[in-house]
Each structure stands twice: as structure tokens, then as C-alpha cells.
């Protein structure tokens, strides 16, 4: 049992981060906090991929003399792409938040909702 | 001209007429000439086509195949020919009438009226000549949509409300039930074409066939079988020529025509008789006949009374179809024609009364007969034909319907037919009697009221004479009806 828990520690971290992120997105009314939650959520997936690529005793995947076992480089490459996507998403989200702040004067979800429906 | 071109011309001519009407909208005289010309041409062509069909010419025409195995296709077949003949001949008469009506009544949006009218006729012809259920369904829906602007013509809240009921019930039943029936037929047999003797035999468990028949009976809302009859009284908000041609002839007859087609060519008379498919449903139709007659008696509004009378008479045809015996089917087919000529006369008269005196209620008609003798004479003839007395055409179809009930030993149904005839007398005959023999209400003088415009009178004279002629010379319709039934 302990072995199972300890042996899969990377997955536990991923799951905890994922839940923290999703919960933040859902529960917070502050638009910036939602974006932060979204980032945590995405990062958990990055961890998932990167830890998948690890090979026990494997070295970093750079060809060198005398090393037989390498970690799998493909997940790293994939996640590089995903990180770029994530950064772009965050940038766009923050830009939207700025525009929302400019036109509503607030970034609290319930206040925005009230402003739209009191018109 | 080959039969194919003839048929295509009949289908396209009303559409071309509609376009012509829109183009010539700025000159009412030319516009009306276009209407009359296309109507007259269609009538001539339909008669030519009927003559050639009775000579034994037959053919089919496939336009396009939207679904694998199901084409938009046309064919000439006896029942369709009969229906097309009725609709084609009456369009000319109605055109003459409606020009007088619309002008006498100073209606708005006349261009839209005449154009939508022409499109409705095109759709009716499409229904008459369709070679399979899909084609029929296509034109069936087109007819509903093309008549919608006619029903809501007045643009008043009442017209809008009537239009809602009209569209709601007709589209609701056709999409919810009729289409389902077609799809079930398709999934059972893999085909939806009309074939003498039916296509369902051997493909469907007789126990379920009744349910499928119910889908068609109620799905074909245009047949106005209760409880889906409400659209027909609702449609009476339309101008009277629309009520006359479309809601006494084209639209409602399209409904019972479709029902007959389904009975004859999808189920097949043999199949229905040997498996008692319609055993329970026939009482719904019988009830419609009686209830609608009773409701008609309570209506003081003349058009509403005629509308309920139509509901009742339509169920005669449905009844004949569901008896599925030879005499019953012949009676049903002939009633399409006979009722058309009689009921259109009644509506023409109602419209003439409205234009001349602005009266809509039966109770206001006392003594009006002396001011408008021709109108009420026509009304009288129409009434007698509906009741089914000789020497009027309506007698023949009732005769065969009654014979059908006897043939299948359904004596209770025979009683229904007889009682209904008595009810017809009770709700229709008092109208001309009141007009001719009662004294006007005190203080009313009809000195300023004269007959309606000449073109309207002409139309009434033509249709009421037709009622008489059809008694002595029912031959074309009888032969067509016989051919349609003889196939099974």
C-alpha cells in the first residue's frame, strides 16, 4: 500500500494540482484568480506528460558517450508546444480581463453579472 | 404535345403565372389577365390530359432522386387525374369569382393574394400527380406553406391567430405523424412508391397495421378528422375565394385524396379488408361525421357553419376509404368531385352575400333572398346536392358510400350516413328558406342591396349548373373512380 502511494507520487501531485486548479476556476469569482486556476490546471498536465517520459535510471536525452538509457524525449517536446499554447491562452485571457476592467470597472464575476442585467 | 410535356406544363404553368402576377403587379388589369389566362390554360390542359388518359395513355416522369431509391417523380393515375380535373376546372371559375370579390371588397395586397393562390394550385397539381409518398409529402407541405399567407391575408390579430392554429395543426400532424408513417413504411418495405394493390402486404404484422394506418389517418391533418379538425374553422378568416377553392376543394381534398392514395396504393384494399386494419378507426371517422354536423348546427356564422359541414363531409370520404370495399372506394373518390362542386357553390354564395350586404351571420339573412335571388338560388342547389338529393350530383357519391356500408355489412355505419343526411338538411336548408320566406328584422330594408358583381354571379351559376349536370352525366368522374378502384 505504502509502496503504491509512494511509487506513484508523481501522479498524486498531478491529481492534487489538477483538482486545485479546477476548483479555483470553478469557485472563484475573480477573473484573475480564475486564470491562475486555469494555469495550475494546465501545469498539472505538463507534469503528467513530463513524468511519463521518465525512464528509471535514464539520463537526459542528449546523446553522450557511455550512456545506454535515456529518458523519452517526445513528451518533453510535446509539452513544449503545450506550454506555448498555455502562455498564449494566459496572455489572451489577461488581455480580455483588462478590457473587461476598462468597460465594467470591475473584475468580479457577480458584479459584472449585475451590471449587465440592471441595464 | 407529348403527355410528359403536358404534365410538366400543368405543374409549371401556375408557377409561371405566379411569377407573371408579381411582374405585372403595377397594372391590376394585366395582372388579372395573367391569372385568368394561366387558369384557363391549366383547365384546358387538364381536360386534354384526362381525355388522353382515358384513352389509355400512361406514363411516368422522374425529375431527381434526393434520397437513394426515392425520387421526386410523377405519374398519371386515375385518382390523381380525377383530383387534378376537379382542382383545374374550379381554379378558372374561382379566378373569375375572386377578381370580382377582391375588387368589390377593396382588399389590400392583391398581388400577394393572386400569386400565393397560383402557387397553391401548382402544389395541388403536384400532389395529384405524385408517384410516391415523398413527392406527395413535398407538395403537401408546400401547399400548407403557400396557403399560409392567404389565411393570414387580412393581417389582423384574428387572422394571425387563425394562421397560428392553421400552421400549427397542419405542420404538427404532418411532421409528427404523417412523416413518421412514411418513414415507418420506408423502413418496413424499403419503398414508398404507389402501387395498385398496396406495398405493405407481407411486410407488416396485421396487428400493427392498424397503428400505422392511424399514423396516416391523423397525420394527414388536411383530411380534418377529429380531433385534428380545428385548423379548418380557423382558416375561415381568409378571404372567401380562398375558403371556397382552397378550404372546400384544393387543401381539404388534398387531405382525403392522400388518405385514399395511402389506402389504395400503400395498404391496398384487399389487405385492409382481410386484416380488418381499419376496424376501430372507422368509428373515429363516423363520430367526426356526426359531431361536426352537430357543431355546424350551433354556428351562426355562415362560413363557420360551412366549415364544419366540410369537416363532416370530408369524413364521408375517409369513411369510404376505410370501408375499403369497391363501392365504398368509388363513393369516396366520386365524393371528392361532387362535394367540391357543391361546397364551392355554397362558399361563393356566402362570399357574394358578404360583398353585397356585409352580413356574416345566418340569423341576419332573413328576407335577403328577394334582394339577391340568383345567389340564394345557387345556394339552394348547392345545399340539395350536399344533402344528396336527386337530381344533383351529390346523390351518386352518397349512393355508393351507402352501398359500400351495405356491402361490408356495416349497418351501423349506414345509419350514421342516414342520420348525417338528416342533419345536413337541418343545418343547411333553413338558410335559403330563411332568406326567401322570412321577413327581415324590423326596421331593415334591403332596397339598397343588390346582387354581387357580375363575375361572382357567373361563377356561382357555373358551379351550381355543374351540380345538376353531374347528376345526369357523372361519367368522367365515375370512370376515373372505377379505374382507380379496379386496380385492386
Amino acid at each position: 500500500m505504502t509502496d503504491f502511494i509512494v511509487g506513484h507520487y508523481n501522479y498524486w501531485i498531478v491529481i492534487i494540482l489538477m483538482m486545485v486548479g479546477l476548483y479555483t476556476v470553478i469557485s472563484r469569482g475573480n477573473l484573475i484568480k480564475k486564470v491562475i486556476g486555469l494555469n495550475i490546471f494546465q501545469v498539472s498536465v505538463f507534469f503528467l506528460y513530463i513524468s511519463l517520459g521518465t525512464v528509471k535510471e535514464g539520463a537526459a536525452p542528449i546523446i553522450a558517450e557511455g550512456i545506454e538509457v535515456y529518458s523519452n524525449p517526445l513528451p518533453h517536446v510535446l509539452i513544449l508546444t503545450a506550454i506555448v499554447v498555455g502562455v498564449a491562452t494566459t496572455a489572451l485571457a489577461l488581455a480580455l480581463v483588462v478590457r473587461i476592467k476598462e468597460s465594467y470597472g470591475t473584475i468580479e464575476e457577480d458584479e459584472i453579472h449585475n451590471l449587465d442585467h440592471s441595464l | 404535345m407529348s403527355a410528359e410535356t403536358l404534365l410538366l406544363t400543368i405543374l409549371l404553368l401556375p408557377l409561371a403565372g405566379a411569377v407573371g402576377i408579381v411582374i405585372t403587379r403595377h397594372n391590376p388589369n394585366v395582372r388579372e389577365a395573367v391569372t385568368l389566362l394561366s387558369a384557363a390554360l391549366v383547365a384546358v390542359l387538364v381536360v386534354m390530359l384526362a381525355a388522353r388518359f382515358l384513352d389509355g395513355e400512361a406514363f411516368a416522369l422522374t425529375l431527381i432522386e434526393p434520397l437513394p431509391g426515392i425520387a421526386i417523380a410523377f405519374e398519371i393515375e386515375a385518382l390523381g387525374m380525377l383530383f387534378a380535373l376537379v382542382a383545374g376546372l374550379l381554379w378558372v371559375v374561382t379566378s373569375v369569382y375572386s377578381i370580382g370579390y377582391m375588387r368589390g371588397h377593396n382588399e389590400q395586397n392583391q398581388t400577394r393574394f393572386f400569386a400565393a393562390f397560383a402557387v397553391s394550385i401548382a402544389a395541388t397539381m403536384g400532389i395529384a400527380f405524385s408517384a410516391n409518398l415523398l413527392t406527395l409529402f413535398l407538395f403537401y407541405e408546400l401547399l400548407t406553406l403557400a396557403t399560409y399567407p392567404l389565411v393570414t391575408h387580412a393581417g389582423t390579430p384574428a387572422a394571425k391567430q387563425g394562421g397560428r392554429t392553421y400552421l400549427g395543426i397542419l405542420l404538427g400532424t404532418s411532421i409528427g405523424l404523417f412523416l413518421l408513417g412514411i418513414l415507418v413504411t420506408w423502413s418496413l418495405t424499403g419503398r414508398v412508391d404507389f402501387q395498385a394493390g398496396g406495398i405493405l402486404s407481407g411486410h407488416v404484422d396485421p396487428a400493427w397495421a392498424g397503428l400505422l394506418y392511424a399514423l396516416f389517418l391523423f397525420g394527414i391533418g388536411k383530411a380534418a378528422v377529429m380531433p385534428f379538425h380545428r385548423w379548418l374553422p380557423a382558416a375561415m378568416v381568409a378571404p372567401t375565394p380562398v375558403s371556397a377553392l382552397l378550404h372546400a376543394v384544393a387543401v381539404v381534398k388534398a387531405g382525403v385524396f392522400t388518405l385514399l392514395k395511402v389506402t389504395l396504393y400503400i395498404f391496398g384494399g384487399e389487405f385492409i379488408l382481410s386484416n380488418d386494419v381499419t376496424g376501430g378507426l372507422i368509428w373515429v371517422v363516423a363520430a367526426t361525421i356526426l359531431i361536426a354536423s352537430l357543431v355546424a348546427m350551433t354556428k351562426d356564422n355562415l362560413k363557420a357553419r360551412l366549415a364544419y359541414s366540410t369537416v363532416s363531409q370530408l369524413s364521408y370520404i375517409a369513411l369510404g376509404a376505410m370501408l375499403a370495399s369497391k363501392a365504398g372506394l368509388i363513393g369516396a373518390s366520386m365524393h371528392i368531385a361532387m362535394h367540391a362542386f357543391a361546397k364551392i357553390t355554397l362558399f361563393f354564395a356566402a362570399g357574394a352575400i358578404f360583398v353585397a350586404s356585409h352580413k356574416k351571420q345566418v340569423s341576419e339573412l332573413n328576407g335577403l333572398g328577394r334582394a339577391m335571388p340568383v345567389t340564394f338560388a345557387a345556394f339552394f342547389i348547392g345545399t340539395l346536392s350536399i344533402i344528396g338529393l336527386p337530381p344533383f350530383g351529390g346523390m351518386w357519391s352518397k349512393w355508393y358510400l351507402a352501398l359500400g356500408a351495405v356491402e361490408t355489412a356495416q349497418l351501423l355505419l349506414l345509419a350514421v350516413l342516414m342520420i348525417s343526411s338528416l342533419l345536413n338538411i337541418m343545418y343547411l336548408l333553413p338558410i335559403p328558406i330563411r332568406a326567401f320566406f322570412s321577413k327581415p328584422a324590423s326596421g331593415e330594408h334591403y332596397t339598397e342591396i343588390a346582387e354581387a358583381p357580375k363575375s361572382m354571379l357567373l361563377a356561382m351559376v357555373v358551379t351550381s349548373s355543374a351540380c345538376v349536370i353531374l347528376f345526369f352525366y357523372p361519367d368522367p368522374f365515375y370512370r376515373l373512380a372505377g379505374l382507380a378502384v379496379g386496380g385492386n
Binding site: 498536465v45 449587465d116 | 412523416l179
Partner: protein
């Protein structure tokens, strides 16, 4: 060049996007975007033709052989979807010229077209690629572009709508990414064809099932499958007219394609039947059709009404997928195409109204049907197609769906499909009544018919609705071929 069609479809709009962004004037940006979209439509047509005549195309990106390199693999399914996307783009852009000039500030127009091309790149990329991770990348390219496009709407609600879509869209894409990761961890491959041979060996693993579930949920979010549709009504309502037309006709369609691809090619056919997925599709489809249609009836904004109708239409496609039969998949694909036509036409017509009066609330459009007869005619015919009246494309879809449902004796689904049509009668009827029968509200100025440049593309789609309602050689023919490839997922 012919060998490179598949790649050109993605690369041409991708390269054009930054070029358009730096062009100085709106009109020149529009011209380039239009040429690119038209070129893509031609290329997509050629590609479909090539696939239909010569069979599937495999294109190795950079010459790296699959499964190591990225492969673009084109068969009848994705060639068909790519043609829909490119053709809609090509027909939307002529419409865009005037509509965009009216709704977007001049200095932003080049950027607008740039984002539009990026969105097109992403959508076409999804259809072209044969690599499931690559799908994620293109999905995000198209999504990011569409968030930006939606936020360009004139109301400030556009910002919140875009933000909401961004949050939900990103969650969806990330779910998809998780699923892909889990599957990769068990198979070591990302190539669809390769996965198709590797996955059957590992299907029993919980990891693979979990991955499958993540992917399904992720795409269902993008698809706006009820009840994951919450982003869609706001996004469609507040986006600029052109964006609504384009997204409504393409974005959800591409998501449907991905769904079908994962179910039919990547996972062994029949796998979905061993999971609750197919039942869930049917339940979600039924709920979506009924609830979204009822919602549509009560909407006070025309665009929002049509948006809810879109959610309902997605329900039809979900039903087709859920039937998990060849007939069901055919129906879903046919509806995918036909719905693009009808919603495209309808949103274009509404855009024309917005062009004239600057709004589209129900109480603002009273009596406009008389002032704008051609626009009104387009709404009527588009609406009839939505209802599924015979002679329109919508009828063909409904026919195939009901036949597929009858085949399985799924009577509830049959009833729901027909009921959906009746609910459509109600909301389309409400729209037509407002446009035609309600007395004109006095705005002070007379409204005239929309300009020709808006009407011609609108009526192009309207005619397509009728044409593909009568001649179904292309739609049904290709959909049946495609369904044969996706195999109908029979166990």
C-alpha cells in the same frame, strides 16, 4: 503541387495571417483574406476529388515517416469536412467586407482578418492531420483565434462571452490533452493509424478507458454538447455577425469530426459500445434537442435564439453518433453539412438586419420583413430548412436520422427528433411573425433592403439549402463513403 495540396491547405492561410495583419488598410486585408479563402476552397475541392477518385492520401510532414513524423492522412471523411470549412470561409468573406466595416473599427480590421485566417488554419489543420497531438495544437490555434474574434463584438458583453468561452474551451482542450497523454503512456504512439493497430491490445487497461473518457468530455465541451454548451449562446450572440456565421457553420462541425474520428478510426470500432459513451450521447442528444429547443422559443434576441437552436442541432448529431451504426454516422455527417448551410444562411440574414438597424432584439425587428423582403425570404427558407420541410436540406438530415433510429427501434429518439422539428416550427414561426406581422416600430428612419454584397452570399447559401435538399449526390454519397470508413462502429 498536387502532391502538396494537403499541406497547402494549412500553410497558405497560416502564412497569409501575419501578412494580412501588417497590411495598412481594411480593404486590402480583406482582399488578401478573400483570395486565400477562395484558394483554400478550391484546394479542398481538389483534395476531395482526389480522395474520391484515387483513395486516401498520406502526406508525411518534412519527409519523416509515420509513426515518428507527423502524418497528414486524408480520406473521404476529412476531405469532406475540410471542404465544408473552406467553402464556408470562401462564402463568408465576400459577406464580411461590408458587415465588418460596419461593426469593427477601421484600425482593427487587418487584425480581424488575420485572426479569421488563423481560425481557418486551425480548423483546416484539425481536419488534415493524422496525429492526435497535432489535433490539440490546431484546436488551440482555432480556439485562440476565435476567442479574439468574439471579443471584437460591439457590446461589452462580448468580452465576458469571450472570457467565458476561453475558460471552458481551455478546460476542454486540456481534458483532451490529458486523454491523449494517458493513451500515449500505454501505446507510445500518437499517429492515428498506428494507434488503430496498437490500441486493441491495451483496451482492457483502466488507463486507456480513462483516457478515452477524458478525450470524449474534452471534445464534447468544444462541441457544445448539452449540458456542456454554456459557452455557446453568449459567444454566438455577442460576436460580430461574420464571426457568428463562420463559427456556427464550422467550429462545432469540426469538433463533431474529431469525435467521429476518435470513435471510428483511432479506437477500434465498437469500443464505444463497451463503455457508457454511446448511451450518454443519446441521452445528451435527446436532452439537448428538447431543452435547447424550448430555450430557443423563449429568447428575446434573434442571434441567441439561433444559438440555442444550434445546441439543439448538435443534439441531432450526437444522436447519430450515439446510434453507433453506419446509418447513424451517415445521418450525423449529412446533418453536419446541412446544418452548416442552414445556420450559415440564417446568421447571414440576421447579420444583414444588424447591418441595417444595428440590433436584433425581437422587439426591434417588428415589421422588417416588409422593408427587407430578400433578407426575410432568406430567413423563411433557412427556417424551413431548420424545421426540416421537404425540399430543403434539413429534410434530408431528418430523414436519415429517423431511418437510423427506426433501424434500432429507438422509438424515444424518433419521437424526440420529430418533436424537435415541431419545436423548431414554434421558434422559427415566432421569428417570422415578429418580422412580418408585428406592426413596424417607429424608428424615425425608413429601413431599406440590405446591400447586394450581403444578399448574394446569403442567397448563395439559401440556394444551397434547396439544392442539397433535392440533389444529395454529394452530401449523402460522400457521407456514406465516410461512414464506411468510420465503420459505423459495429461491434
Amino acid at each position: 503541387m498536387e502532391d502538396h495540396i494537403s499541406l497547402l491547405l494549412v500553410v497558405v492561410p497560416l502564412i497569409a495571417a501575419p501578412v494580412v495583419a501588417v497590411l495598412p488598410r481594411g480593404r486590402s486585408a480583406w482582399a488578401v483574406a478573400f483570395i486565400v479563402a477562395a484558394a483554400c476552397a478550391v484546394l479542398a475541392g481538389m483534395q476531395l476529388w482526389a480522395v474520391l477518385t484515387e483513395g486516401a492520401i498520406s502526406y508525411e510532414l518534412g519527409g519523416w515517416a509515420p509513426p515518428w513524423g507527423i502524418e497528414y492522412r486524408i480520406d473521404a471523411v476529412n476531405a469532406f469536412v475540410a471542404l465544408i470549412v473552406a467553402a464556408i470561409a470562401a462564402i463568408t468573406l465576400p459577406y464580411a467586407l461590408l458587415s465588418v466595416e460596419r461593426e469593427i473599427p477601421e484600425e482593427k480590421i487587418p487584425l480581424f482578418y488575420s485572426a479569421m485566417l488563423l481560425c481557418l488554419t486551425g480548423l483546416l489543420g484539425i481536419t488534415q492531420t493524422g496525429d492526435i497531438f497535432n489535433v490539440f495544437v490546431f484546436l488551440e490555434i482555432s480556439s485562440l483565434a476565435s476567442y479574439a474574434l468574439i471579443s471584437l463584438g460591439r457590446d461589452r458583453q462580448a468580452f465576458t462571452a469571450a472570457y467565458q468561452y476561453l475558460i471552458m474551451g481551455t478546460i476542454g482542450a486540456t481534458f483532451y490533452l490529458i486523454g491523449v497523454g494517458l493513451i500515449y503512456s500505454q501505446t507510445g504512439s500518437l499517429n492515428m493509424q498506428d494507434l488503430a493497430t496498437l490500441l486493441p491490445g491495451v483496451l482492457h487497461l483502466k488507463t486507456v478507458e480513462t483516457g478515452f473518457a477524458f478525450i470524449m468530455i474534452g471534445i464534447a465541451l468544444k462541441l457544445a454538447l448539452f449540458p456542456l454548451h454554456l459557452w455557446l449562446p453568449n459567444a454566438y450572440t455577442y460576436a460580430p455577425s461574420v464571426v457568428t456565421v463562420f463559427l456556427a457553420a464550422t467550429a462545432t462541425k469540426v469538433a463533431v469530426y474529431v469525435m467521429l474520428r476518435i470513435l471510428g478510426t483511432v479506437f477500434p470500432q465498437g469500443f464505444a459500445l463497451t463503455t457508457p459513451a454511446d448511451e450518454l450521447f443519446i441521452v445528451a442528444g435527446i436532452a439537448g434537442i428538447v431543452i435547447a429547443s424550448v430555450y430557443a422559443i423563449y429568447q428575446q434576441n434573434v442571434k441567441r435564439l439561433l444559438a440555442y437552436s444550434s445546441v439543439a442541432q448538435v443534439g441531432y448529431m450526437a444522436l447519430g453518433i450515439g446510434f453507433a451504426s453506419a446509418a447513424g454516422v451517415t445521418a450525423a455527417l449529412v446533418h453536419l453539412f446541412n446544418h452548416a448551410l442552414m445556420k450559415g444562411a440564417l446568421f447571414m440574414a440576421v447579420g444583414a438586419i444588424i447591418y441595417r438597424i444595428g440590433a436584433c432584439r425581437m422587439d426591434q425587428i417588428h415589421g422588417l420583413g416588409r422593408a427587407m423582403p430578400w433578407t426575410f425570404g432568406a430567413i423563411v427558407i433557412g427556417g424551413l430548412s431548420l424545421v426540416g420541410v421537404p425540399g430543403t436540406a434539413g429534410f434530408i438530415s431528418k430523414w436519415y436520422l429517423v431511418v437510423a433510429a427506426l433501424e434500432q427501434e429507438a422509438w424515444i429518439s424518433v419521437a424526440v427528433i420529430l418533436m424537435g422539428s415541431l419545436l423548431a416550427v414554434v421558434y422559427v414561426g415566432k421569428l417570422i411573425e415578429a418580422l412580418y406581422f408585428k406592426p413596424v416600430t417607429d424608428t424615425g428612419t425608413a429601413v431599406s433592403e440590405a446591400p447586394l454584397l450581403l444578399l448574394v452570399p446569403t442567397w448563395g447559401l439559401v440556394f444551397a439549402n434547396v439544392y442539397f435538399g433535392l440533389n444529395t449526390d454529394l452530401t449523402v454519397g460522400v457521407a456514406e463513403k465516410a461512414a464506411a470508413i468510420l465503420g459505423g462502429m459495429k461491434p
